[in-house]
Point group: C2
Chain length 206, copies 2
Amino acid sequence: MTDHCFSATDIDAMEPRYRANLVNSVSGFKSASVVGTSQGRSYLENLAIVSSVVHVGAHPPLIGMVMRPHTVVRDTLHNIKTTGCYTLNQVHCDWTKQAHQTSARYPTEVSEFQATGLTPWYSKAFDAPFVNESPLKLAMKVESILPITANNTEFVIGRIHQVWINKEKISEQGQVDLSELGIACISGLDTYHKPERVARFAYAKP
Amino acid sequence: MTDHCFSATDIDAMEPRYRANLVNSVSGFKSASVVGTSQGRSYLENLAIVSSVVHVGAHPPLIGMVMRPHTVVRDTLHNIKTTGCYTLNQVHCDWTKQAHQTSARYPTEVSEFQATGLTPWYSKAFDAPFVNESPLKLAMKVESILPITANNTEFVIGRIHQVWINKEKISEQGQVDLSELGIACISGLDTYHKPERVARFAYAKP
């Protein structure tokens, strides 16, 4: 075992940007999703990348994401709280640059859709904007928001209201082929990856 | 737009295994981590794969994971609650089969380390077992556990106490090259992928 050990004290003493990069890396690969919101159909449309999306449960179908109220996603979080709805759009490898650019701190009156060139799209029955370019889009309704007091963030839990996807990429057993859809994943704060499938295993038994 | 739309009603009406596969897929790629626990150094060592690991914050360094109290991770969750400590070990592409096998429902007296052939390893100052084969190991201490009442699961938030890693795989800015370390990611419940880096972007500005 020749690996180096960083202690809690080492981490605490790190230069803030170095620490942010390191700690954001060590939890492993992360989902790359952009969140679409607005105050309603004729209002400004916000778009923000998040890498903190996590599966919470299948029945009911729940997805969580950690959000920081005092950062760039503030407008997005405000929209989510006031309308109760948002979209989650998986990022395709071809437009990781545009997806990443949504993390810039634009003035409140600027839509990240316009700023990045991604296209808003609406389904009939849902008022938050989807990203038309996304190969896997979810309409979400807020189920609950849990405050994380340890660092003043919030865990937003949403219930899946719609899934938009090419049916041919779903197996008979319901597995979605994310690689075949060209979906990206993230490491750290800034690095995008294209996953290639290496194995699928049966339900494990002793 | 030729994609199919699954509504909330469609999802609710799905055959349970199909729904589990589909809903577990649509949140995107997931971290592949195995959690090591025990009741103490001379007790049975438990190991369980989790795909619900999520970055919560860098300062303090916090990582969350969603756990189901009534499933195979019950022993792991019990150990975490009684000892307050656990390890998170990133899964390498070479041993995804063994990592997946830890999800089998072994009898309480069986160690998943022994059952799968993965090797327990201890650092001097920490009582939970690491996976020796893992290229990126974290010692974690429980910070808080939030109940998710929507589906009777729990969001376990831990603070990073130690990071074990080959220093050569960390950039000058603190980014860890997870692909270079051979780390895998998961889609759905059963599919493992090897991510290849496609892009790194600068901190985004308007």
